[in-house]
Amino acid sequence: MAIYSVAVRTQIANTANAGATLLTGSTIRAVVFEAGWTLATANATVIGFGHPGAGTTPATNSAGQPEDMAGPTSTVNVAVTWTTYPTAPANFFRRASFPNTVGAGIIWTFPRGVTVPTSNSICFYNINTLGANSDCWLVWDE
């Protein structure tokens, strides 16, 4: 078990689309401890964090980076574009609204972690973004 994180800039900013998904591999689950989000463009925005309703096919992946630089390679990726898009989560662990101010944001923490099973995902979901791309990051144990 080791801590990993990766930060990305979202590319899909449409309402009712995912902004970013964390995807586990087929052998190791991930336990998410922190999820951070800041607006890079000024638009009033509402986001949620939850399990997408259906699986996804990512088009671009950023691999988890070990926070111990001597640690093993991550099996988890974070995607910001997809060939098959995630569908809306039925429920959210967290949701938040931001003013139309660049730099507005939030850091959500999960003291005991949110577990993402193998071959599964969890996503930032654009509930209402009006085209606001954002910087976000995720921290997990795997």
Binding site: I3, V8, G36, Q65, M69, G103, G105, W137
Partner: protein
């Protein structure tokens, strides 16, 4: 292991450049970053990322002196640079990236629950992902 914390001001605001580099020595101690906070000084939008540079900076020309929080401990041997003869190369990935508002004193704080461990002879950089403000940076380490 001793706690060390440091506050300093960056000078390099150029996009696609490092604002500062935290460099582990070839041996002895591995700096473990527990917390980083960044605040813009003049009031300009900023986008910073934290990552491992593709290559370390060459010949740091401006270094921050580090003291331990407990004065009875020896000073640390790792280094923080804010200027170089040849700057670090861009990280491929980032541990964190954040956008700051154009407000003096707006603040974001990155924390690392188990510490971000820099292995010997390696470094991490706070990277200017845009044309940024001069910023005040505070970092807490265990090293």
């Amino acid at each position: 292991m001793a706690f060390t914390s440091i506050g300093f001001r960056t000078t390099n605001t150029t996009s696609s450049n490092a604002a500062c580099e935290i460099i582990a020595p070839a041996s002895y101690n591995m700096p473990t970053i527990l917390e980083i906070s960044i605040t813009p000084v003049n009031g300009a939008n900023c986008v910073f990322g934290l990552g491992v540079p593709a290559t370390r900076g060459g010949n740091p020309t401006a270094n921050v002196i580090l003291d331990t929080d407990d004065f009875s401990f020896p000073n640390n041997t790792f280094q923080i640079a804010t200027g170089w003869t040849v700057g670090p190369a861009a990280p491929t990935n980032f541990f964190r990236r954040t956008t700051w508002s154009n407000t003096v004193g707006s603040i974001w704080q990155w924390t690392f629950r188990n510490g971000l461990i820099i292995t010997p002879n390696n470094s991490v950089v706070i990277w200017n992902l845009a044309t940024n403000d001069v910023v005040d940076v505070s970092i807490a380490f265990d090293a």
